[in-house]
């Protein structure tokens, strides 16, 4: 297939290879998860067994040692050919795992492998490998945007321990029904500033109340329920500041761009699945005595579908390469805010092309199959629902994206 994405690093080859072996089993379970509106636990067992859950964990701790964002995207796209709900769910865990692995590697270099602090940082990575830690994440709340969370943490001492208390409601907490931990952002206002806080809590924390309210058009197996925090206690160790509330910081720009572009991969994977389903049927079915694949109108429309898919792949691949180059370039020296907006803008370019293009590809696949693709017995009908989730992904929805990219292009960087 034209411009198909392939991994560029050795760990990427391993992860993507593992992902490929899961496409068929995932696809076989996708309908049931959709109908039952439940996460498919077996998929996550497979992700663990295959090592994909711990893709970013260094090899010496039992992971794949993945570093390339590009290859991460390819792996997620591959999984999504089988089941996009599972694919987007695991990205949450990956994004947090990747940061933990970076912290560990930094410590290993700076402090040595045997330092206690290094070892402490290895601990959760080992748990990931053992399947004892699965982290979901969310930055989304109703009525606000990623920069202005209303969920708030305040100082709170409990059982003689310093810490915090968190209150608020997060939505789209994908994978939360089976996660062991949740990572989220909140506002903290105190003498140290009005800041964005990053919080990681066990899912069984008292006051952390899953809402079991996920019932959506698509991505029904992603477990994207709401989670309420009601006076939930946050130990000091689970709390970190990451720049001012309501403003873009370097760290937050980078994190959102990198963690979220991977979601785009899932929508590419959906498009690829739809494309393949259409081709397979066109090569076997006839109409009024002529093979569908031999009809000029069908060929023309297949061409349009293939061209749209090629655009999606090329743009997402280019964005992945840019991301890797950015990480490489700024591995030793910090990027500027302009650099980071450029990174975010590249992600938005990928999002714009791929999320819309993927919808277009699935829609053309449906056009090609006619009414048959519209019935629920055909996987296309589910793909059509799943793929529509793409444009909402944060930050910069369809009503904001073009303006933001224009601002960055013009050097008119928004700070909030």
């Amino acid at each position: 297939m034209s411009f198909e994405l392939t991994p560029r690093t050795a760990p990427g080859v391993s992860v993507v290879g593992a992902a490929e072996s899961l496409v068929e089993p995932f696809a076989g379970r996708a309908e049931a998860a959709d109908v039952e509106n439940e996460m498919c636990r077996q998929n996550f067992d497979d992700l663990l067994a295959s090592g994909i859950s711990s893709a970013f964990v260094p090899e010496e701790l039992g992971g794949f040692g993945l570093e390339s964002i590009h290859d991460w995207i390819v792996a997620i796209a591959t999984l999504a050919r089988g089941d996009a709900s599972t694919a987007i769910a695991i990205t949450m865990h990956h994004a947090i795992g990747r940061r933990m692995a970076q912290a560990y590697s930094l410590a290993k270099t700076d402090l040595g492998p045997d330092d206690e602090r290094t070892n402490n940082l290895a601990e959760p990575l080992r748990k990931m490998v053992a399947g004892e830690m699965l982290i979901c994440a969310t930055a989304t709340e109703a009525g606000t945007d990623n920069l202005h969370p209303v969920t708030e943490v305040v100082r709170h001492r409990q059982d003689d321990r310093d810490g915090w208390r968190i209150n608020g409601r997060k939505i789209f907490v994908t994978m939360s029904p089976i996660a062991t931990h949740v990572s989220t952002v909140a506002r903290v206002r105190d003498d140290d500033g009005d800041d964005m806080a990053n919080i990681v809590l066990p899912m069984d924390t008292p006051g952390l109340i899953p809402q079991n309210d996920w019932d959506a058009l698509g991505m029904r197996g992603s477990g994207s329920q709401s989670v309420v925090f009601k006076d939930a206690w946050v130990p000091e160790s689970a709390f970190g500041r990451m720049g001012p509330w309501g403003k873009w910081s370097l760290q937050y720009l980078e994190f959102r761009a990198i963690a979220n572009i991977v979601l785009v991969g899932a929508f590419l994977g959906i498009a690829e699945a739809a494309h393949d389903i259409a081709l397979e049927k066109l090569l076997t079915r006839s109409r009024v005595g002529q093979l569908a694949a031999e009809q000029s109108g069908i060929q023309n429309l297949v061409g349009e579908m293939a061209l749209e898919l090629a655009q999606c792949r090329a743009v997402l691949g280019a964005a992945g390469v840019e991301m890797d180059a950015y990480c490489e370039r700024h591995s030793t020296s910090a990027a500027s805010m302009e650099d980071a907006h450029g990174l975010m803008s590249d992600y938005q370019a990928a999002k714009w092309t791929v999320n819309r293009g993927a919808i277009g590809v699935v829609s053309k696949a449906m056009d090609l199959l006619g009414g048959a693709g519209y019935t629920n017995s055909d996987a296309l009908a589910r793909l059509y629902r799943d793929v529509r989730a793409g444009p909402f992904m944060q930050p910069f929805g369809p009503a904001e994206l073009r303006e933001y990219v224009g601002q960055v292009t013009l050097g008119q960087y928004p700070d909030s």
Copy 2:
């Protein structure tokens, strides 16, 4: 709203007025029908009570005396603002009823109102008014197109009566679960030719076997199940020839163009409903302290949605006007095949713009509402599924439509 379609004839004003009164009750019942995957019988009771079922029945027989195709489209679009499944279902009945009303009117003029034959033709129209006759229709079979039905009728004498026997399988027999009769096309090959036959049968005919297999992405309340004919008997009176099998005839071109353009109206109605839902919410909801309707990005996207809707309305309205002019022009003298292909091409132009544009409008509405519109608690999610049925409508699907319009534009008329 810009370029909103309004009726152009007095009966049209009555029918559309009646349709408007049903928008709200239909909308209120749409979710249940969708969830239960059942036709909403109460909607059809309302259609009967309001007189919409018998829109084409002459006033002297108790109907609205509708004649304008344009106004018929407007009425269907109006109903579809409430529930598109019901709207497309009733078009089937309308299309047959319209032809029956024309036959009656012609007989009344030619033979006089008191002639027995005139009275015979009035009979089914009176039944429609009384709610004793509700006709569904289908021309669709798997693996072939409208011109080449595989379902076949052969001469068969039964109980000392001349007649026919029909065998085959029709799909997308919308409204069949509650209809009293079904109208369909089949092939007849005998000494009189290899022809297209038109058949109308009671739904309780032995050997007419509904399949109860409708389970689709959308339009779930339309009852579009398959129907199998297994040696079902067709009396002579229920049989008519309409031109050669496998070739366009004047009659068949005209009938398909007129009966099917009305379906396009339903998709316009879905788009209008989605547009209104989006506007209503944008005028009440805020994000980071600003009313959504006041944000430039939102305004820009609303503009795009409104412009797309305006195109749909203008094109469908123009097609309706052309159809009425065609009928007027050819009310006394027959049209040429070129004229009829022009009519069909106008329908295709409407279909192309409106079915795609309606999907675009619903999609933009969803973009505007973000993740909220993606959850099943929002009607938008259903509209997004319903609206996708548009492009499949016969004849000339997405892989054929442009080529056909090009052929007509170039005067290269296809005959099969």
Copy 3:
């Protein structure tokens, strides 16, 4: 041709009929005007001789008595099939002539046909018929928009007469090289307010200095040079206020919407000419032994061209009908600002679809003809340059249009 626009009123039929007779001669002269970058005076002689110049002049004064905006658009589109430069030029004269005709008709009703004031208002209309008055118009200046002209008039007494003095520079003063008068807008700041002023001056007014600087990509025969006003004297009779400077007034919204939508007609006419050129050649030329018109790829692309043209026609026709209905509705009672913004938004909808669609149609015609259409010996090459002028037309350029339509749709009316 599908959805072709036809006049709806008797005077419209006359004007459009006259325009049709000019298509061929105009087309025959278009290349020379383009090459020489000059207005074609013979075209304007024809417009005068055919009565089109005085289309809006009442019949009793020797004109066609045109009133319908819809039919005006059709007439301009027809002329533009021959030469779009001439077509846009004459709209300027028409727009002013229409207002003069309205003023005369009102006076005739209110004061009687023999009143001196009525007669005074008839005078310029008679001159139009006699070819002694040809009015160009402009509202455009560099670096600002229609609502904020920088050109300014100030009180000035000259030769014992009350009056004004005007200074500034207008651009795109189409038809000014052959016009007898120019109508323009300026700012007036005095004790009566900070207002928009409307000025009409003879072109030979001292201090009115044509710049002879029109040299553009297309529309080269339109004479759209700049005009400088340097202390030009404006008699009291040539001065009128029309609402506050920098704000939309009812009068200004209506005038801009009605005067400018007609320009859209010219771009439709260009598209129609390109469409016809393409069809004609495809029906006569072969490639590798097959008639172009018989090739599936050609048919598919012709279909796309025809579908795009059909959209343009339908939308522009619908806008014309809306404009006529607006004028009818508000002929006795004033419209609200909301109504007038709705009118402007309808014009923008037509502009968006038609100006872009016309570019698309010409581009597809060029795709269909291949390299042959790219050479200057083919009229298509000129049409491709001419049609690109569409999107700039005032007010609301491509960067503003969608946001404005969105604002109107949301009821967030801008006042400046």
Copy 4:
């Protein structure tokens, strides 16, 4: 700029660096070449002096030793930022030079560097470096396609030498006014078969008659005149067979894909130039007192322009990478016809996205600048004309491209 293409090989870095130094001087001469409709000889002197003319010549013979198709594309795109006419012209010379360099390198490996045959193959390469050889090329004739040239060669003995005689007419012979040689394809029918022949002749060959008839909408400095062959004599050494006439051969598919994708680079370069012109002006100009770059509508449209440019870059870059991988993969073993169609299809994917996208980018730049960009004093007006040449490039024009890509996607490979 987002997804900007950069060279991937060391020789590519050199060639692209040289090209960058020519952007400004080329841009400075582009208007004159356009107005005078003449090739700019100074540009070609610069290309020679900078070594770009001999980019593919091995370093030991004085060239850059370029091998990467990707980097070739980047170099052409870079030149086209200055002047696209010159950029497309030099691609012809490059494409032939590349094949000559490959033949030389192969001989050097197989026969040794001192073999006479190796030395003979080095000869024209040395001439290229010395500026004594500049080769134009064409495969285009009116009324047929690349596979079915009507120009024909027949056996002809002249002055006691074996050889051929050629008759026919080629169009779009870009760069022919200043070339020393022309390379073309023709039909040869004899006992050896009905084949495609490749011919290279000096431009001063008797019977080779340039027509000096290039006068097009754009690319006016490209010298793309017609050339007539009237009994021109072809020595044996200038003649080669390359597969059957009227059918795709492996060799011909590969050559057309590789030689022609580079042309796409030129259209990307035009888009980049237009993008930069627009940005520069938006950052300095104000409207009604606000900097253009700060207006939301402008930002939104700049975003759309940037997103479209990003797509073009990503797709063209991906195609370049694919081409290099193809050449690498098949450097020692021949590709299959399926592989070669895949290569051609990748080129078509690039052509589809970039040629259309580049038109879109230039058009958006023009929308952003308004009427100013429409006047001939602005380079944008020329870019708008130049960029329109893209879609015609052979093989597979806009009416064929999608169907071909669909055929390849479906494995329904066309052989003619």
